[in-house]
Structure formats: C-alpha cells, structure tokens
C-alpha cells in the first residue's frame, strides 16, 4: 500500500495531535504489528518491520536495487507491450487498465527483465511487479521471460526469477494460459542445458505463475510470510466450505510441506542469492564476456 492509500485507510482513533506529527511520506504503519515506523528506518530495513519481521510489498525497482550490484543492472527487452487481443471489457476496458498501470508504475509491463551482477556473479533477472495489474502474466510477460531464458541459454549464464503475481491475466484469455506452457517449455530447455534457475517467491505468488516458472527453480527461495499457492484462499474456502488452517499457504507452511527450499529474510536475500549463484557457477565461465555486450550485438 502506498502512503496515500494508507492515509485514506488509516483506522480512526489515532489522535489528531499524533497525526499532525506524521506528515505525508515520513511514517508508515506496519501491517503486521501496527507499529508506526519512521520512513527512513523502514528504508534502512529494506521495507521490513524491525519489530515483527513483516515484509512490506515493494516494487520491481526496489528488488532490483536490493538484489543486484549497484549500477550493474541493464534492462533488456523493454520494447514489448501489451495488445488487447480479445477487445476485453469488464467494468473498464483492458486497454484502459493497461494505460492506467503504465502511468501508475512507469513501466510498460508487469515484469522487468535484464542482466545484472550479484556480488560479482552475472545472472539474467526477471522481476515481477505486483503493482502492474497484480503482476499478472499475459503475452508480454510470457514472451519476456521465455526470451530472457533463451538469452540465458545462449550466453550460458544463470536465470533468477522473482515472482509476485495474482496469476494468469484473464483479459488475454487463453493466450495468457499458454504463457504458462511457453515459459515452462523454455525453462525445460534451460534445464537440459544444465543451467541454474533460482526462483524467488514473494508475497503473493499464486495461480498461473506459481503453476509454471515460479515453481520450476532448481532452488526455490521465499520471503517470510508470503502467500504462495495454486488457488487463492478465498476460492478454496468457497469450494470446500471449511475454515482454512492457520498459516495456510504461507511460506512457512510451504517449507513444512516440502514445497520450497528455504525462507530468507529480505535483508539476507542478496547474500543468499550470491551464495547459490556461486555454488552453481562454472569457474571457467566467470571470465566470459558480459552478457549484455553480446545480447546487444545480437540485437536482442
């Protein structure tokens, strides 16, 4: 939630006097424990609560800054944009939703793709942005991830995906479902080429994204407390008409049931990723040319 919507939604009862001490943008309330946190402190803690460990939802750009070496990220495949293949209209037209999302996020799609270094290790990155139509996967996301994976194969460097998504993008109908097959098929080729895919899942990762590339990591890492699943909890509850167990579909639940390898606090995420990339790295390849230069020459 951004600052403005938090202010709109703040619970009554915070005294006016106190509110005056919290000018716009300086404070945020923890959605986990209710603690009021100074913005600077929150930023220092990478948007996690020091008191309860709650992980605030952040943008793709923020994850890029947290995970990759400063200045090393080179965005690729930026020219791809959504079409409206179905001419889809519900309460709003899909075309309008896309243009709203672009304005809101400053991005052209729900995934940022590029190459970057993590403590010196080169990797291809696909970072989903939940703010862009709930990080939903349509043709653009599917194509970008598949092409990025192909580039990883061509350049023989690892792939890192960071997912946060409500699932397939309904407004593109069957074409969005097919992106699950597309991304998974290209990942299967990556797998055959014996290149690593590290999949990071953050809150929330559900539906078609979980049922495709996000679950196909050689190693799957999740942030604490993230909702991760196939079906959303509301759908499950409506279907089975039972209460759901405590902590259902949270990272800790998935770890217990053997579905993810580890839960890593956001502050430790970069070092954990660097260690994994180090383990899988081919020592002979480290001297290889930077992927970007090659990718550019190939006009990708």
């Amino acid at each position: 939630m951004d600052q403005v919507s938090w202010l709109k939604r703040r619970k009554p009862g915070i005294k006016d006097a106190k509110r005056r001490e919290m000018p716009d943008g300086l404070w945020r309330k923890c959605e986990g424990c209710g603690e009021i946190i100074y913005h600077k402190e929150l930023e220092r803690n990478l948007w996690t609560c020091n008191k309860c460990g709650y992980h605030f939802r952040i943008s793709a750009d923020q994850y890029r800054d947290i995970l990759t070496d400063q200045g090393s990220f080179v965005e690729l495949l930026t020219a791809l944009e959504s079409k409206d293949p179905l001419g889809f209209v519900d309460s709003k037209s899909y075309a309008e939703r896309i243009s709203d999302a672009k304005k809101k996020t400053g991005r052209r799609s729900a995934v940022m793709t590029g190459s970057a270094r993590v403590d010196g290790h080169l990797a291809m990155f696909a970072i989903l942005d939940f703010r862009f139509l709930g990080g939903s996967m349509g043709s653009v996301m599917g194509e970008k991830i598949a092409r990025l994976t192909r580039m990883a194969i061509e350049e023989r460097i690892p792939l890192v995906t960071l997912s946060s998504s409500g699932g397939a993008r309904m407004q593109e109908g069957i074409l969005s479902l097919m992106q699950m097959a597309k991304t998974s098929a290209m990942l299967a080729k990556l797998h055959e080429e014996r290149l690593p895919h590290i999949a990071i899942q953050v809150h929330p990762t559900t539906g078609g994204v979980t049922a495709s590339f996000a679950s196909l990591g050689d190693v799957i890492v999740a942030e604490p407390g993230a909702l991760i699943g196939f079906a959303g909890p509301r759908v499950i509850q409506q279907t089975i008409k039972q209460d759901l167990p405590d902590g259902f579909q949270r990272s800790e639940f998935l770890l217990k049931h053997g579905m993810i390898d580890m839960i890593v606090h956001r502050k430790e995420l970069k070092s954990a990723l660097a260690k994994l990339l180090d383990f899988f790295s081919d020592d002979n390849r480290d001297s290889a040319e930077d992927a970007l230069g090659q990718a550019r020459r190939q006009g990708l």
Binding site: M170, F230, L244
Partner: protein
Amino acid sequence: MAGWLEFEKPLLELESRIDELRSFADGQNIDVAKELSRLEVKAEDLRRQIYGKLTRWQVTQIARHPRRPYTFDYLRMLGIDFVELHGDRRFGDDGALIGGLGFFGGRKVVIIGHQKGRDTKENILRNFGSAHPEGYRKALRLMRMAAKFGRPIISFVDTPGAWPGIGAEERGQAEAIARNLHEMSRLPVPIVVVIIGEGGSGGALGIGVGDRVLMLEYSVYSVITPEGCASILFRDAARAAEAAEAMKITARDLQEFAVIDEIIPEPGGGAHRDPERTARHLGEAIERHLTELEELSPAELVRGRLERFMSMGEYKEG
C-alpha cells in the same frame, strides 16, 4: 427431462412427439405420415435455430452436459483395449485423472485423461473431474513410461479445473502442474491432446502440452471458468455468460488464436446426441495426426513443440 439443458427442451419435446407418433402410426395412415413429415421439418428448423447461433455460454453448458461422453466412453467407443494403471507412487491414486496402456487400431499408445462421474457415487470417486497433484504426477509417471518405450501419448482433457483444496495445496498442486508443463515439452514421443468437454485452466493445461491440440466442436478451453472470471472482474458470478463472451472460449475462438489445430465436428446439438458418430470423427482425427507425427524424429518433435508454444501470444514490440 432431467439432465437436459433449458434451451434443448423445446426440441426434445418435439422429438418425443415425433417418436410417439411414429410408434403409433402403422405406416398406412396417410394423415399421420403427413403430420410426421411436417413435424420433422419443424424439428429441423428448430435444431438450426437453437444450435446455429449458440452463445458461448450455451456452448459451455453443452461442454458440461451431464449426458456428454467422458474419457472412458470414448475409449470404449473407439474400441481401445485399455489397461488402466493406477497411482503416482508418491501419495495416492486419483480417480479424476486416469491413465494406462491402450491398444488402438494397430498402435500401442499411452492414454491419460480426466474422468468425470455421472452420479453421486461416481462423482465422489471422480471428484467432478478435478484432479489433485497425485493425478498430475500419475499422468507424468505414465508419460515418462511412454517416452521410455517410445509409445505415443493421447491425452483427453475434460476438467472444470485442478482441485482447489487444502490437501491439494499441501501436496503442491502448482508444482505438479508446472512440472508437467516442463516435462511434457521435452518428451521425445508424439503427444496428441483432445479437449473433449471442459478445458479448465491450468488443470487442463497440466495434461495439455502436445504436438497437436484438437477440440471437439462444443467443448470450451479457458484461462479461468466463466464463473470465476465473472466473480473477479464483473464482481458477480451470475454474470458468467458475459464473462464467457468476453474471454472467447469456444473451439472456433481458439482456432482463430492458433491455440488449437483442428475442430472435430459434433452432431447438431452436441456429442451426447450421437456419441458413436462423435467418437468416429474423434478416432479418425487422432489417427491422422498420429500418422503425421510418427514421421518426425524425436528431435524434430521436441523442437516443433517448443516452437509451437513460443509462437503463442500477442504483443506489440517497438
């Protein structure tokens, strides 16, 4: 008239009147014969009227028709000598997703498919055709067996979706589907997929990655059920008909998007009006595609399958 759709009823009433009249007439009475032919013309008109301009929601209802043939029905009608194999060797056996070995004409094939039930007892076993992870994992086990022994795979898709339940989530429904997409894309044997009824989202795609994807004329295939889409985007599950229109989910729609290769014709009114004829068309199409695919080397198959899915999607660039 239980088990029939509302829009089918006028036609069914007329047809039963024709049947009655026919059994009553002795073939001598000229007036009855006249009346019969008049009613038959009327029935033909009505048939054209009803089935000539079905809405996408009506097609959905035919795809879900309680009398529609299911996977086991087709195996029987196609004369396939079928040896069912059970279990995923990990957790259990899923009645909603069946599989086994088939002798089909001169071919030995591995068959997988969703299976729905016709009554309460069957539906408990079949879970309405909604599979758990163990169903997808059983299917994968059998498909790997097919690859090991070089047998083609035929997959029958007919599901409202993968089961959304506690156990399904605990055992990794998402991973089970993702794994199948991943593995199916690289299997070195021909895979022919047929959507015979409902192609419900990831639950359908989980056994739906193939070299050829065919659809029966009145089946549907969608990213989410019309009800699901309606409740999320239209804020009202009752607006499913609108959602079905908006999502474009019929065989003809999917052929236009180049997601499927062929539409297998059904008799007017749907497969349930003449199951044998439907099965004949289905069998011919499957054999024809298998014959074509058998000409390809494993490497060509796998390359073609990757290209097939890479080509799907519409976007702007630049």
